[in-house]
């Protein structure tokens, strides 16, 4: 009961306050859901269980305001929240119970932190008085997730909930985004708050202030290097999409006329049709982009972190080039590559500030050098892949046909492995925000759950998940979620009955000793039909067009299995430990 400070105690005692309206006190679970609503959350991906049941009881009352999607495994909830977050830029929310519910999230959280994905994970926990007693379904999830969350916190009192949720959302989405985990003990979910519910969004914290606008002197130093460079080469990464800097990036590359290459997660931020776009970087990236990395005199890195899959052997990587590094996370500066001109800030702001300082330029001659390599790659790899003479269908032709049929404008998800690299190579992205894949962690099984998260985020766009037969079986149960939610996600399984990328490495580096990479697969179409999802198998090249048409024409979830060449390899390839300039074409 609250006491008014101005009233004397005797009055309080003498008059029971029947007529005075008491503040409406809600319990922690209601406070949680109302906090999520205040943050604009419309969809929660979750799975109930003992320690989160009070919250699920509260959700029951808010079904008109919050949509809950029941996944089939908690990992699926995490990936779905990631998919939603990646495509919308908003915070994805997943909710699970304690113990195994929480530990099943771990892969998804680890995936989110390495791919800078804003996510808030609400996790139930045993009651506070049971903490540390090895109670049923008690796991020290805070301890488990410290290294893989941007922030985590254990709530033990209902009163803490609004403030902690506000903080969680602020931390997850600001600066370099990342996953935040809030562990809520069951007593905190059940007990009444001691004061009426009010919600204030968090806008700053004493100990955390990410720099959005870069310092002007850093921008000027970067502009000087850019203006002096004879052979500048721009790399753009995931940071461009996160910052929504696609327009600024276009203006920048058009004004400076620099050639621009993408990282895996940067794909789709610049259309493949753009004359300055020269391809993508790294292990299975393009020939010219990799070789010319070692011939440019300046790298302008925008929102990327020089991942080892991009750089190959660092001791022989771009030694001749100066580096301008535009990056929001100060810890990424000089982490892998020493920056001559670091620019700490958000990609959009940094490019906005750079634009007036960089000179209009013409690098036609330098850009033409990429064309020479493209011609070789085209002749040796791309054309044979797209117009194969093999009996079986090849992955590249499936993806390019899909690309043509969707005009390069669908949201494409790829799982992890050969089909992922093939998707990155052969889908011709023409619209920003269109490629969602697990880049940093390389999480097999990511694409299927992430796909329905994406579809929730962008219901009006065509969403196609391209998945290998190995990956598909890692989260196959999420077909149930797709069927129950009715989200019209299109799924293509590129089935070669192999864990293809591992097989490729065993072929190239382990004398073809195929150690546990061949799969005896189930009948995927029967399985899909068992879940209530329609689908069919395409085994012949002449049926490919019709098969894709049928899949795309469906207004329901649809599974298309394509039987592809069993032992094809992804090239070009920079083998692990090799120099980017030594990229192999065969």
């Amino acid at each position: 009961m609250e006491f008014n400070e101005n009233q004397t105690e005797t009055v309080q005692i003498a008059e029971p306050q029947v007529s005075v309206a008491k503040p409406e006190l809600i319990n922690g679970s209601h406070a949680l859901i109302r906090s999520l609503i205040e943050e604009g959350v419309e969809t929660i991906f979750g799975y109930p269980g003992g320690a989160i049941m009070p919250v699920y009881d509260a959700i029951y009352d808010y079904q008109d305001q919050v949509n809950h999607i029941l996944v089939r495994h908690e990992q699926g909830a995490a990936h779905a929240a990631e998919g939603f977050a990646r495509v919308t830029g908003r915070v994805g929310v997943c909710m699970v119970t304690s113990g195994p519910g929480a530990t099943n999230l771990v892969t998804g959280i680890a995936d989110a932190i390495i791919d800078s994905t804003p996510m808030v994970c609400i996790v139930g926990q045993v009651a506070a008085h049971l903490l540390g007693t090895d109670a049923f379904q008690e796991t020290d999830v805070i301890g488990v997730t410290i290294p893989i969350t941007k922030w985590n916190y254990q709530v033990t009192r209902a009163d803490e909930i609004p403030e902690i949720i506000a903080k969680a959302f602020y931390i997850a989405k600001s600066g370099r985004p990342g996953p935040v985990l809030v562990d809520i003990t069951k007593n905190a979910q059940q007990e009444l708050m001691s004061k009426s519910f009010t919600y204030k969004k968090c806008e700053k914290l004493v100990s955390y202030h990410p720099r959005v606008s870069p310092k002007q002197d850093q921008v000027e130093a970067a502009a000087k290097l850019i203006n002096e460079a004879k052979k500048p080469f721009l790399f753009f990464g995931h940071g461009v999409q996160i910052a929504g800097a696609e327009q600024e990036l276009l203006r920048f590359i058009e004004k400076t006329d620099v050639p621009a290459a993408s990282t895996l997660l940067g794909l789709s931020s610049v259309s493949v049709d753009h004359p300055n776009y020269v391809g993508w970087l790294g292990m299975h990236g393009n020939y010219g982009t990799n070789v010319l990395t070692n011939q440019c005199d300046l790298i302008i890195a925008v929102g990327m972190r020089f991942d080892d899959r991009v750089t190959g052997d660092l001791s022989r990587y771009a030694k001749q080039a100066k580096i301008v590094h535009i990056e929001i996370d100060p810890a990424e500066i000089d982490k892998i590559m020493k920056a001559d001109a670091p620019v700490v800030g958000d990609a959009k702001k940094a490019l906005e500030q750079l634009l007036p300082l960089v000179k209009e330029n013409n690098h036609q001659e330098w850009r033409a050098e990429f064309k020479k390599f493209d011609a070789i790659e085209d002749e040796k790899i791309t054309q044979p892949e797209l117009a194969p003479t093999t009996e079986k269908i090849k992955m590249a032709e499936v993806i390019r046909t899909l690309s043509d049929k969707t005009k390069g404008e669908a949201v494409i998800l790829a799982d992890v492995g050969q089909h992922q690299m093939m998707t990155a190579r052969y889908y011709q992205f023409k619209k920003p925000n269109s490629f969602i894949t697990s880049g940093g962690l390389g999480t097999m099984g990511y694409a299927l759950p992430a796909a329905f998260g994406v579809k929730v985020g962008v219901p009006d766009r065509e969403v196609v998940a391209i998945i290998g037969d190995g990956c598909f079986q890692m989260t196959i149960q999420e077909l149930g979620t797709i069927a129950q939610s009715g989200l019209p996600v299109k799924i293509i399984i590129l089935n070669n009955n192999f864990l293809g990328m591992v097989r490729q490495w065993q072929q190239l580096f382990h004398q073809k000793r195929y150690s546990f990479v061949e799969l005896q697969n189930p009948d995927f179409i029967t399985i899909a039909k068992g879940f209530g999802i329609d689908g069919h198998t395409c085994a012949e090249r002449e049926n490919l067009h019709a098969s894709l048409d049928k899949m795309l024409a469906s207004d329901k979830p649809y599974l298309l299995e394509v039987l592809v060449e069993k032992e094809e390899n992804v090239f070009p390839m920079v083998p692990t430990g090799a120099c980017v300039a030594d990229i192999r074409l065969e």
């Binding site: 410290i146 290294p147 941007k150 914290l205 004493v206 100990s207 100060p330 810890a331 000089d334 982490k335």
Partner: protein, 177 residues
Amino acid sequence: MTTYTICVFTENTIGILNKITTILTRRRINIDSLTVSETERKGISRFTIVIHSESREVVEKLVRQIRKVIEVLAVFGYLNEDIAFNEIAMFKISTPIGAKPLDIETINKVYKAWVVYWHLTYVIIQKTGTEEEIFEFFDYIKPHEILEFVRSGRVAVSKSPQTLVDYLPEAEWEYYQ
């Protein structure tokens, strides 16, 4: 190998130690000593972490990673010359009847160490100083049987005239009382 002292200022909440040490563990950096206590400001803890490293670059990267912990307010990496530093050591020395007596005068005047507890068969001596001074005394006292020896780990204050609030102008922290 160079000694680096890393001072970390954090909010004083549960689990921060874990959040910081996991950053070192992941990079296989061993901690030589670690002390934690509340600062002159309420609710702000100060970690003093001493490490050895061959590479200044590694330490710089470590400092930036520690800064990423949300509860961390500020991180400073120091060389020995940048700081005033000390630690306390305690020695439990056996003094059985008939053994060579301790030279208390030398212990006090030369080594600036003090007996803080007497027992019939042992004494406890407290010695404040740098790691080097403590080990000099260790060598001196070793001939007497050392029953127990403990060091507090380094505490250090920067020689720079700036104070914590200079780095955290936005914060209005109450003084610790």
